[in-house]
């Protein structure tokens, strides 16, 4: 089962490698990982998308929590939450037809074209995993994808619940 874990931890050298090391050491799976400092520069926030049954997930949560650097971990999958991923994709746009189609698809998905080259368009799109997968699928039908990069999922709980100190 797909799970989204949000982790708040000390923004110290080595903190991230402890998390990543733990996942590989204990044969846990990482599907996506996204990390950045929070508004409080002493803290980092990580979102990890992983897979596992309840038993595996319980171990993941406990093992991550056991790390001295980790302040809190929560399983967002268990509650209402918002999750987003950012996609940047560069596609071939050589003909008028391709340019029109790419622009139209981008508008429908509420993405934006952020850069134009002689033969390529670069598009930015935000959404959940399904939306981004669908967008990439349709784009690939219309033109050639030159390069793409995804941020990995970030997530936050809905409502009053917050992951903070």
């Amino acid at each position: 089962m797909r799970r989204i874990l949000a982790i708040l931890l000390e923004n110290e050298p080595g903190s991230l490698s402890r998390i990543v090391g733990l996942f590989s050491q204990r044969a846990f799976n990482i599907e996506t990982l996204s990390v950045a400092p929070t508004e409080d520069a002493s803290l980092s926030r990580i979102t990890i998308v992983t897979k596992g049954d309840d038993r595996v997930l319980e171990q993941i949560v406990k093992q991550v929590n056991k790390l001295i650097d980790v302040i809190k971990i929560t399983d967002l999958t268990e509650r209402n939450h918002v999750e987003r991923e950012l996609l940047l994709v560069k596609v071939l746009a050589m003909t008028d037809k391709a340019r029109t189609e790419v622009t139209r698809i981008t508008e429908i998905f509420r993405g934006s074209i952020v850069d134009i080259g002689k033969q390529v368009y670069t598009i930015e799109l935000t959404g959940d995993v399904e939306k981004i997968n669908a967008f990439i699928g349709i784009l690939a039908n219309e033109t050639e994808i030159i390069e793409s990069v995804r941020s990995g999922t970030v997530g936050i709980a809905r409502g009053e619940k917050a992951l903070r100190i």
Binding site: S17, G21, Q25, R55, Q59, K62, K66, I68, V70, I165
Partner: protein, 574 residues
């Protein structure tokens, strides 16, 4: 707090002194020479020079296990630090408090593949409780204080502190500021059991008809032996210990039914298999205990007390988990039992004990000694007699380790020192040396074999330098006994690389290091020569005992079976 101006190297040594460190076990090298210079100039902390850094970690480990204090290791960068890895892993697996101070090349060189550079923080990451890379001179005291605090609170474990050379050199000084009252916002180790869980546990325990208490190394590290004994007596329950938990209750206590697990007693494993409630205290349902997980005690309700939540429901599902320090939780349990005015039902209790006593009568921990070769079990029994059961026993890993666990009842916690989790051959001698450093007047014995002893035999030299008169009891079977046993049982008797050809003359070897060697070849000289060895108080004695190489460790759980499915002897099932 003081505001003295010190170099980084001086800060390291002063910080250790402030934390009441008696001994540092280490080996010098380029990146830590400034620390060695600082050690030279003071008398608060004594440095013990080993002959190999792995031995320094095991010495610190033995010292920590015997005293409960943090063991301290100092090693240089590169090979010095990597030589510590096995010792760090050993301490990690057995939850032993240890701080390893590792030198590092100067910050400006890190990442350049400089001479004697390795990323020791990276190398040790999966086997430490935590690690620090100290990058600033003024941080040294507080980083060391944090390292000690983390190492010796909660579930103890090893902490690595990396110290680059540029923050140690005499060119820079700073004020020594150290806050010993450590507080880390992400780490709160002082956990009390949840009261609701305590009530639930007590009502389950008090309704049990066949209760077993199963305790592990957590009892030892929490110094909770007395509490455990009163809990056992209050409940009139049978108690079994893990290999790590031996001595948690006296091995001579009437309620003690022996070690459980792979080479545990039949009565301990039978009691577990037939229990309706298992109270697990500071133990972690290791695979050497459970045997086949799917077949493990299917009818028991399991109450599991542990400070580490990851140990709970990791391999065996706990019905009533209690996260907390085992001493505090046991106190809570006793209070709740008293509050409920619980009285043990004598009929139910006696029925259970009657059953257990029937299993006891099988005498699963037994052997046949004829007039031929000396049986290794017999040596351990003689060792118990000659030391009156009071010696610290540090063991290496293999058959001799199991025989020591089975045939030397430990009266006190911290008396039994062995690498239970990692199973590190070469652990025994340096561990016994660490014990001897801590308690010079106590008898410190290393029980070993001809395989294990050779993995850190160079430390005989350290023993001479520091006058450490440990007793080495080597059960010499001219083979890697445990490997050979498995090859006999599982690999059709094919002894692939499990016999030791060209063994040294251990007597001459001991003598060449300046010690005394005694060889015992025959049963009729065993007791006399052992007595002779132990009569020598001020010298290290290496007792090389030629034992029957064909002897196997029994009882033994049958592979992939339930906890109580055991071989009692060759070809005989329980």
């Amino acid at each position: 707090m003081t505001t003295q101006q010190l170099t980084g190297a001086e800060m390291v040594v002063k910080a250790l002194a402030e934390l009441d460190v008696e001994y540092i076990f280490g080996y010098p090298g380029g990146s830590v020479l400034d620390i060695y210079d600082a050690i030279f100039n003071q008398d608060d902390v004594e440095h013990v020079l080993v002959r190999h850094e792995q031995a320094a970690t095991h010495m610190a480990d033995g010292y920590a296990r015997a005293t409960g204090h943090v063991g301290v290791v100092l090693a240089t960068s590169g090979p010095g630090a990597t030589n510590c890895v096995t010792g760090i892993a050993t301490a990690y697996m057995d939850s032993i408090p240890m701080v390893v101070l590792a030198g590092q090349v100067a910050s400006s060189l890190i990442g350049d593949d400089a001479f004697q550079e390795t990323d020791i923080v990276g190398c040790s990451r999966p086997i430490v409780k935590h690690s620090f890379s100290c990058r600033s001179l003024k941080d040294i005291p507080n980083v060391i204080a944090k390292a000690f605090y983390i190492a010796n609170t909660g579930r103890p474990g090893p902490v690595v502190v990396e110290l680059p050379k540029d923050i140690l050199i005499p060119d820079h000084t700073a004020a020594f500021e150290m806050n010993k009252d450590v507080n880390l916002r992400a780490y709160n180790p002082n956990v009390k059991g949840h009261q609701k869980q305590i009530r639930k546990a007590v009502s389950t325990i008090t309704q049990a008809k066949r209760l077993v208490i199963y305790s592990g190394g957590g009892i030892i590290s929490a110094n909770a032996s007395e509490l455990l004994t009163s809990l056992v007596e209050r409940l009139k329950a049978p108690i079994t210990n893990t290999l790590m938990g031996l001595g948690g209750i006296s091995g001579l206590h009437d309620n003690f039914i022996g070690m459980l697990g792979m080479h545990g007693s039949l009565e301990a494993n039978k009691a577990m298999a037939n229990a309706d409630v298992i109270l697990a205290l500071g133990a972690r349902f290791d695979d050497r205990v459970t045997n086949k997980v799917e077949k493990f005690c299917p009818n028991a309700t399991i109450v599991h007390v542990d400070i580490d939540p990851t140990s709970i429901s990791k391999t065996i599902n706990a019905h009533i988990p209690i996260v907390g320090l085992v001493d505090i939780v046991m106190q809570q349990l006793i209070e709740e039992i008293d509050a409920q005015e619980y009285v043990v039902d004598e009929t139910i209790n006696q029925n259970w004990w009657q059953q257990i006593n029937e299993w006891r009568q099988v005498k699963s921990i037994s052997y046949q000694q004829d007039q031929g070769k000396i049986k290794p079990q017999r040596v351990i029994e003689s060792l118990y007699e000659v030391t009156h059961g009071d010696a610290y026993i540090s063991s290496d890993v293999g058959q001799h380790q199991m025989f020591a666990a089975q045939y030397y009842p430990f009266k006190k916690p911290r008396q039994w020192i062995n690498s239970g989790g990692l199973g590190t051959m070469g652990f025994g001698l340096p561990a016994a040396m660490g014990v001897k450093m801590a308690f010079p007047d106590a008898e410190s014995v290393c029980v070993t074999g001809d395989g294990s002893i050779q993995m850190n035999i160079q430390e005989l030299s350290t023993c001479l330098q520091y006058n450490l008169p440990v007793k080495i009891i080597s059960l010499n079977n001219r083979s890697l006994g445990m490997v050979r046993q498995w090859q006999d049982m599982i690999y059709g008797g094919r002894h692939s690389s499990s016999y030791m050809e060209s063994l040294p003359d251990f007597i001459k070897l001991a003598e060449s290091y300046g010690h005394i060697g005694i060889q015992i070849n025959h049963l009729d000289e065993l007791d006399e020569k052992l007595a002779q060895a132990f009569a020598i108080k001020d010298r290290l004695v290496f007792v090389d005992i030629l034992v029957d190489e064909k002897e196997h460790v029994y009882p033994m759980q049958i592979k992939h079976g339930a906890v109580d499915e055991m071989w009692l002897s060759k070809g005989v099932k329980a």
